[in-house]
Amino acid sequence: MSKKLPLLIMILPIAFFMVFLVALPCIYVVIISFMEKGIYGGIEYIFTLENYKLILEPLYLKIFANSFFIALVTTIICLLISYPFACFISQKNKTVQTILITLVILPFLTNSLIRIHGLIILLRDGGIINNFLLNINLIDEPIKFMYNQTGTIIGMVYTLLPFMILPLYSNISKLDANLNDAAKDLGANKFKTFLHVTLPQTKYAILAGSIMVFVPTLSYFFVSDLLGGGKTMMIGNVIKNQFLVARNWPFGAALAISIVLFTLIVVIVYRKMGGKMEQLGGVSYEK
């Protein structure tokens, strides 16, 4: 039997998907981004740089800045919540750890839109939280959780939190406790031990978790649609609108390419710093 044949059989199906449904579509989007748009939508195959020039206008730069701001705040909040959480649960015994981590995965397995709907019932002006606070006279009028930037950020944190907890947990739970003890023996206080011993060892997990939260935030248009009340325009919403409402595919494509470029830069920096690609898939953390 030829040596080539089994290889071909095994590799062709996956290669088919990756070439025809990943590589070619992406190349095509790059091409569209340099084309002109027709009056009623559609693509005119005439080369232009207009779409990229348009991105540089203050209007869209503002939307970019706003999206990055929301993504950054979301990432930081997720990190601040997840880090202590991951530390605390890795101090539990194995059985409790398994149960707690499964509890973190459980919401991740239920539909994220449904969970957002639950969040809406909780957060709106006449929602459960506001009603409760009003009833105990802690506040005089409802806190505006929704239909603004706060709403978008709460929704993003809520949807993406497990992506931060899981990599951190799997890294922290494998840390060698002896190192901490050694540091203590050498006279380091808790804070110093954390800063010089624990933190450096969890560097890659922090980075991987941050990328896994930051990048989706840019594209989760449904969160800002539902919790932002259509007022917080994020890059994801603009791309969606260009493709499905305004019919300006070339401009939408140019916007998409620009966030891909940004993502690539982040990933390259991450790899240069020594991070592993597998961690970005969250896969080495299964189990």
Partner: protein, 343 residues
């Protein structure tokens, strides 16, 4: 072993939900506005004609056009565009001719809504329903009398207005507030509209096209610039709400059934359209989603609670005084820009 059990469980589940009936007479793909035809009407059609209805929805004319243009020709059979969108679709050659003579229920339609400028002989479109953008006001929260779009600028209404998430509507009312036409594309008019919208911005609680009544019913918003049926439904749930027709005149529209070019189920599409034009069926549609009925025969069946309700059955004088949106061609980019600027 467990995995096998799990697999069996899933297959059972699939089987439970998957017991699809077979439809003798094929299918029809309907692409319609959200909240327009009640589910029960569609099920009844499926049963009576043995045709499967694949029903999908959109929430703006532009979304409909974009989706149709990015799909293979003939993906959708029936679309329900508004007046100006029929015009655009005709210019783009997206529509199939409809032989209205073959529709036995076509004669039920009110002649006032036939032969409009966007399709003078109704060669391509069949009027389905009409309506307008009105102002809904929660009287318990808003003491002042609102009569004009300009009244919405009152700083007292901070964070309390729900607007339709639709650029032609929002920019349109800004133009009307300043005495221009809904369709003005002059730079000075648009500059004034922009001014108006920037002033209005702090008062806007949210943009919502799909369910603007929701925030009015829960009293999260106290003023809505919304479709008339949404206002009517909100009034039904919350009696503090009243409707206002602004004195500048309303944004009015007629939505029409059209058949998309290359439709694969043209026969079934005609059957579906004819079915909806049946007075009894149309009665169920307008009682469920109370827009302005354009079917004369249905009007004979409707009760006074519909006919005398101005939010549902917009009076003819208001309709006649209203304005249609028209296709503004390439100038739409000016609108797109303004829209991104004020949002």
């Amino acid at each position: 072993m467990k995995k096998i059990k799990l697999l069996v469980l899933f297959i059972l589940l699939l089987g439970l939900t998957g017991c699809n009936q077979k439809y003798e007479n094929g299918e029809v793909n309907v692409f319609n506005w959200s909240e327009y035809i009640p589910d029960s009407v569609i099920r009844q059609f499926e049963k009576e004609y043995d045709i499967k209805v694949n029903y999908s929805t959109y929430s703006s004319n532009e979304e409909c056009l974009a989706k149709v243009m990015s799909s293979k020709t003939g993906t959708y059979d029936i679309l329900v565009p508004s007046d100006y969108m029929v015009d655009i679709m005709l210019k783009k050659d997206l529509l199939e001719k409809i032989d209205t003579a073959s529709l036995t229920n076509f004669s039920n339609l009110d002649p006032n809504y036939l032969n409009q400028s966007y399709d003078p002989n109704n060669d391509y479109s069949v009027p389905f329903i009409a309506g307008g953008v009105v102002i809904a006001v929660n009287k318990q929260k808003i003491e002042e009398n609102i009569t004009s779009y300009n009244d919405l600028l009152n700083p007292k209404y901070k964070d309390s207005i729900v607007l339709l998430d639709d650029e032609r509507v929002v920019i349109g009312i800004a133009l009307k507030a300043n005495g221009y036409s809904l369709n003005d594309t002059n730079d000075y008019a648009l500059a004034e509209a922009k001014e108006f919208l920037l002033e209005l911005k702090p008062n806007i609680k949210l943009y919502d096209s799909d369910n603007p009544k929701g925030s009015l019913i829960t009293e999260e918003a106290s003023i809505g610039v919304i479709w008339n049926a949404e206002a009517a439904l909100a009034i039904g749930e919350n009696s503090n709400i009243e409707i206002v027709f602004p004195k500048e005149g309303i944004y009015k529209w007629i939505d029409n059934f059209v058949i998309s070019k290359g439709a694969k189920n043209k026969e079934n599409a005609l059957k579906f359209i004819n079915y909806i034009l049946n007075p009894e069926v149309m009665k169920r549609v307008v009682t469920y989603f109370p827009y302005k009925n354009v079917n004369q025969e249905t009007n004979k069946l409707l009760s006074d609670s519909y006919l005398n309700n101005e939010a549902m059955n917009i009076p003819d004088r208001i309709m006649n005084n209203g304005e249609f949106v028209i296709d503004i061609g390439e100038n739409i980019t000016k609108y797109d820009r303004l829209w991104s600027e004020i949002k």
